[in-house]
Amino acid sequence: MAELMYREALNQALAEEMERDANVFLIGEEVGRYNGAFKVSLGLLDRFGSARIIDAPISELGFAGLGVGAAMVGLRPVVEMMTWNFAILAMDQIVNNAAKLRHMSGGQLRCPIVFRGPGGAGGRLSSQHSQALEANYAHFPGLKVIAPATPADAKGMLKSAIRDENPVIMFEGERLYAIKGEVPEGEHVVPIGKADVKREGKDVSIITWSRMYYFCEEAAKQLEQEGISVEILDLRTLRPLDEEAILATVRKTNRVVIVEEGWALAGVGASVVDIIQSKAFDDLDAPVVRVTGLDVNMSYAANLENATQPDAPKIIDAVKKVLYREGA
């Protein structure tokens, strides 16, 4: 198996799907001649031409809507948002049009479109560029929301997203593009809606997704040395949530920590807690603990930026709390 960077895995998925289906095209800012702001579309313009790799003006609402219109009549657009922070400008098209077309038309229309781009905090970019916004989209019926953590999942889930008949919102990790991992060649498809046990364990479950997975791994390794066995469930899909996988891990370890980059209030993790307390309350040996971004805007100062986000020490503290080993 080839070892690829996250961005290369995405590039491979795009190229393979465009090769397979001429209805697939990519539109976004700097995706063509610049080869992508984060180089996800590297080389695709030369391969597929300017009608299929389209450099859009900086008009997020405009080209998001153009993609939706094209999807309404049978094309399969992939709309790259340079970052999800900018996609806030396009939210009306994603939420009021893409998510609702099938419903408002009573089942006459479908909207097979992918909106994708990097999410989460970058490197010292302050408030407007450092946001994990997935909870916003997970809120809306009519959308599917995915956030893969590994290069292999990134490739497999993007392929699934492009083939899906529904609008799919894909959060990539801005800080994940350069990480490496083994990626199966060719037809490697990861289903949407299925979580993945990334690490087997028996004492406590950590439920997470996207970049936070790596902090959880770091924490789990350290905890292992203290004799604590951690299971990590990577949700991968945030809408629909894989309830079965969530309940299975709760029933296995009876203790849960949820790690989420975004804010706590109305976050995805809050819904995971709701599933657990309503369907597996009796399986819990301790209240669920959430580790989230702090309820503040992101600062530029390095120490403040770090303090705002979850990290391995915070996760370790949370694990000890659900194990009643505080101060131990």
């Binding site: 080209f63 219109g69 006459q108």
Partner: protein
């Protein structure tokens, strides 16, 4: 002088305008009886803007509109009973009662919907036109929006792209002079919307929206221009709504005299008089059409009234497409008619030959071939 228009065309346009008028009058009545709810925006006065263009394009051209969207589908040939049933929130409506007045969709007749957010449909139309170019089809897309939508960002963002990429889309601004209760001149720096096309190097024209034949001519011309690959067109149809913004709006922000003055421009008697003057039809023929349409609208109301509400399990349908699930064909489902449904080439059949940036593409090709520029 003989008319350049056939009797058939004139009577078709008359019939459709009269159908929309009667339909809307009955809609108003039904709303006041509590059978219709929600926001309900009537088209009375603007009939020529829907009917003229529809006769100037092909049945397979795409069309979409805003929330004042009963007129266009009726002009396209949608079933009045199913439109009325949608307004009633019944299972026999085009969207099974899930869309209501602001969201009429009839894909069989290539009417791609009414949209409730001001200006939100403008980029969708560009995307549909983009798809036509992408597949090398000579279809045009006709997109309606109101004067107020011209102040939305979606208007400017889309016009920039549509013009730059020469997309085959005809934008028809229905300038009825009021965005809800606000006169356009109070909020628009350039209230003559068609002039804004110049900002995008795009063709823009004002048309008398109270004259069906002028709308027909303008769109015929624009469609030819679009199909020839020359780019998008903005038509500003200067029209007037005889009623308020919606059924519940008494429209007290405008003077009675203004409305009375505009009513003299009613597009329906205008076309009738023209046809009579050209001796292409008799009063008796018009009266027969009127009677037929009245009966048709009565039947539509009866159909809607007698239709059941959607069943509760419909709540869980039509939000997400399940694997293998087919799209709903409303006339087939409700009336048992065999309908022609749009089909698109599969990825294997499709050859994309269009170049969005031909000059630069050529440069790249040259570079690849080792030719300096």
């Amino acid at each position: 002088m003989a008319s350049q228009y056939s009797k058939e065309l004139l009577l078709t346009m008359y019939r459709k305008m009269y159908l929309i008028r009667r339909f809307e009058e009955r809609t108003d009545q039904q709303y006041k009886q509590g059978k219709i709810a929600g926001f309900c925006h009537l088209y009375i006065g603007q009939e020529a803007v829907a009917v003229g263009p529809n006769e100037a394009i092909r049945p397979d051209d795409y069309m979409l509109s805003a929330y004042r969207d009963h007129g266009q589908p009726l002009a396209r040939g949608s079933d009045p009973g199913m439109v009325m049933a949608e307004l009633f929130g019944r299972s026999t409506g085009y969207s099974k009662g899930k869309g209501g007045s602001m969201h009429i969709f009839d894909i069989e007749h290539h009417f791609y919907g009414g949209y409730g957010i001001v200006g939100a449909q403008i980029p969708l139309a560009a995307g549909m036109a983009f798809a036509s170019r992408y597949r090398n089809e000579d279809r045009v897309t006709v997109c309606y929006f109101g004067d107020a939508a011209a102040n939305q960002g979606s208007f400017h963002e889309t016009f920039n792209m549509a013009a730059k990429w020469k997309l085959p889309v005809i934008y028809i601004c229905e300038n009825n002079r009021y965005g809800m209760g606000t006169a356009i001149g109070r909020v628009a720096a350039v209230p003559e919307i068609h002039k804004r096309a110049a900002a995008y190097n795009m063709r823009g024209e004002a048309v008398d929206g109270m004259d069906c034949l002028k709308m027909y001519e303008a769109v015929k011309d624009a469609a030819e221009y679009c199909r020839a690959g020359k780019g998008p067109v903005l038509l500003e149809a200067n029209t007037y709504r005889f009623r308020g913004h919606s059924v519940v709006d008494p429209a007290s922000y405008r003077k009675k005299e203004e409305v009375e003055e505009e009513r003299k421009n009613d597009p329906i008697p205008k076309l009738r008089e023209y046809t009579l003057k050209k001796k292409l039809a008799t009063e008796a023929e018009f009266e027969a059409i009127d009677e037929e349409v009245k009966a048709q609208v009565d039947a539509a109301v009866k159909f809607a009234d007698e239709s059941p509400e959607p069943s509760l399990d419909e709540l869980w349908r039509d939000t997400i497409v399940e694997p293998g699930e087919e799209d709903v064909r409303p006339r087939e489902r409700v009336l048992g008619m065999k309908v022609k449904w749009p089909s698109y080439p599969s990825g294997q059949e499709l050859k994309v030959t269009w170049d969005l940036e031909p000059r630069e593409h050529a440069e790249r090709e040259d570079k690849k071939a080792g030719l300096a520029r």
